[in-house]
Symmetry: C2
Subunit: 339 residues, 2 copies
DNA sequence: CTGTTAGCGCTTTCAA
DNA sequence: TTGAAAGCGCTAACAG
């Protein structure tokens, strides 16, 4: 715990009897060949003195930090999972990931944190959704730092080098088909306007599912934050509907629905069928367990990092499309397992 | 998106017709006074040229990065919440927080990430639990970077400047008392050995609660990962016990218990009462809603950051104790609301 | 109040 | 294969 000043290459060089350039070559650079003897001397000196590279100095010197910044709305649930996979993928590519939140889509915090990241001269930026508008973003990231959006639809190429988007629309569309197939004769979509852009995608998918049914079916669209789910459920089942199908914004909303149904004595899946999204832990341990759409994190994270590497000029590009859509996969559990 | 090289103080100085030192004084330093005229010229030039401070260079020059590193087991649930509050507290103190995970207590990943943080010359480190042993930690953090532990009991002063620990033991102890008071005539503790140190604290509290009961009561201790909760519940209620009290490791485990009870038709809270820990979102939306112990994040995060500031030599110290215990507060919900 | 100058620790030509 | 030296952008004495 003593305030020891860290040892530098200067000291290592002195101890090894070589120049600092040589130390730098041996320790921190690949490709540059040195004699076995020199390598041995340098490594031994470094080891013995407890040398630890100063990446701040290295970053300044090379004007390249090997750091990637990530902005997510919060660390919770799906966002946190994504961050974990991104961290791993970044590491495998030789980069480090600095994770910041936007305090649940707070444009001020978001802006401030992006600014911090830019001041740190991160090599690239990954932003999940974005509370700021596109103009705001453009003026902030005007310096050429590559930006990859996650769940950002329709961002122009001069702002973002690309986007990796989850196939929410497809998942909701298919949920509708599946619920109807399972015998539901009326449908409800329970959204969450708290995340507007993302909610929109899902709603769009819900409508698409309705449209491709080939026939009309009663449905309603409500918001998790505005209505009492118990009331909605009771009213729906009091009507002509024998079996209601419910598409929930995510698994948190789905669990709320399950709880309300349990409380009201509504039988799942006989009277009510539910699909969630995200495949959160609570979907698995709920009773009845919730059918949900799971996210292929490795693919999502890998694609995002790859787009960045591509922008850095390092190859290994898996995909060329600017907006890449990651498909979700259905995990069927008890809230729909009725045939 | 063009690869513009960022503007530096040199260019701002030229545009403003002053020296780089003056620019530095005006833009990046507090306390140093300049004439109004100079300030105006410099700020205008900076604004117009789009100057953004390079904190990498500043960090190198001052040998102080104003960065704090945080290691948590994962971004999920409680850990993610904590990270969010720490980020806020750090920011308020003029620092930035870089968050890394240890991949669920993986000593290798943990070590690697701490090493990365140290290479970045963070001013301080906050570690949540730690998979590595104390010796390992000592040799890694031997350079004088202050380390604050979260939920680390018994760390010597030469490794960690202090610790901020949650009062799990107290919460579990009080849970026992409360459950018995609510009429439970036998108890179960369902732990999670996946997080050994933390589990131990809780178990200790459970035993303490038992001890201060003043009389014997049947109990059992099981592990969430080793047993089938349904079996445990059925067996317990098949015995002489009229009402079982269950102390769950956290709200995830508590929700598993609630689900099992719902499935078996066990009535909550008449036959079974449950307490969780963490006050996770799922405790609130479960049915029945789960009584849980909530964590005072602002206090916990604030104390941790404060200990670091103290170690940095900046004052504003709220507490002197090396190991500070943060008390949890009980949120009573339906799983115990029976009198 | 402002400018000169010597670093911070490392990387990277370019010669030797 | 190795080393001398010029930066990278900013800060912090120290003079003026």
């Amino acid at each position: 715990m003593s305030k020891t000043k860290p040892v530098t290459i200067v000291e290592v060089a002195a101890a090894a009897g070589v120049s600092i350039a040589t130390v730098s070559n041996v320790l921190n650079r690949g490709g540059i060949r040195s004699s076995q003897e020199t390598i041995r001397k340098v490594e031994q000196a470094a080891e013995q003195l407890g040398y630890r590279r100063n990446t701040v100095a290295a970053g300044l010197s090379r004007s390249k930090t090997f750091e990637i910044g990530l902005i997510i709305p919060s660390f919770g649930g799906y966002y946190g999972n994504l961050a974990e996979y991104l961290q791993l993928e970044a590491y495998n590519a030789g980069y480090h990931l600095s994770v910041f939140t936007s305090g649940w889509f707070n444009p001020l915090i978001e802006r401030k944190n992006i600014e911090v990241l830019l001041q740190r001269r991160v090599d690239g930026l990954i932003c999940h959704g974005l509370a700021m508008g596109q103009e705001s973003t453009r003026s902030l990231v005007n310096n050429g730092t590559p930006l990859v959006m996650i769940n950002g639809w329709g961002w122009p190429a001069d702002i973002a080098v690309g986007a990796v988007n989850l196939g929410f629309a497809g998942a909701c569309r298919d949920s509708v088909a599946l619920l109807v197939e399972r015998g539901c004769d009326s449908l409800i979509y329970v959204g969450s306007k708290r995340s507007s852009v993302i909610n929109e995608q899902r709603l769009q998918g819900f409508y698409a599912g309705l449209a491709q049914l080939g026939r009309d079916i009663p449905y309603q669209v409500v918001d998790n934050w505005e209505v009492d789910i118990e009331v909605i459920l009771r009213d729906s089942l009091a009507g002509a509907s024998e079996r209601v199908g419910l598409v929930a914004f995510d698994d948190v909303v789905a669990l709320k629905v399950v709880s309300a149904a349990n409380k009201l004595g509504i039988r799942i899946p006989e009277q009510l069928q539910i699909t969630g999204i995200n495949n959160d832990i609570m979907a698995e341990i709920s009773y009845p367990a919730i059918s949900s759409w799971s996210i292929p994190y490795p693919l999502q994270a890998g694609t995002a990092i790859n787009k960045l590497l591509h922008a850095f000029g390092q190859q290994d590009v898996r995909t060329e499309e600017r907006e890449f859509e990651v498909p979700l996969s259905f995990i069927e559990r008890e809230t729909t397992k009725f045939m």
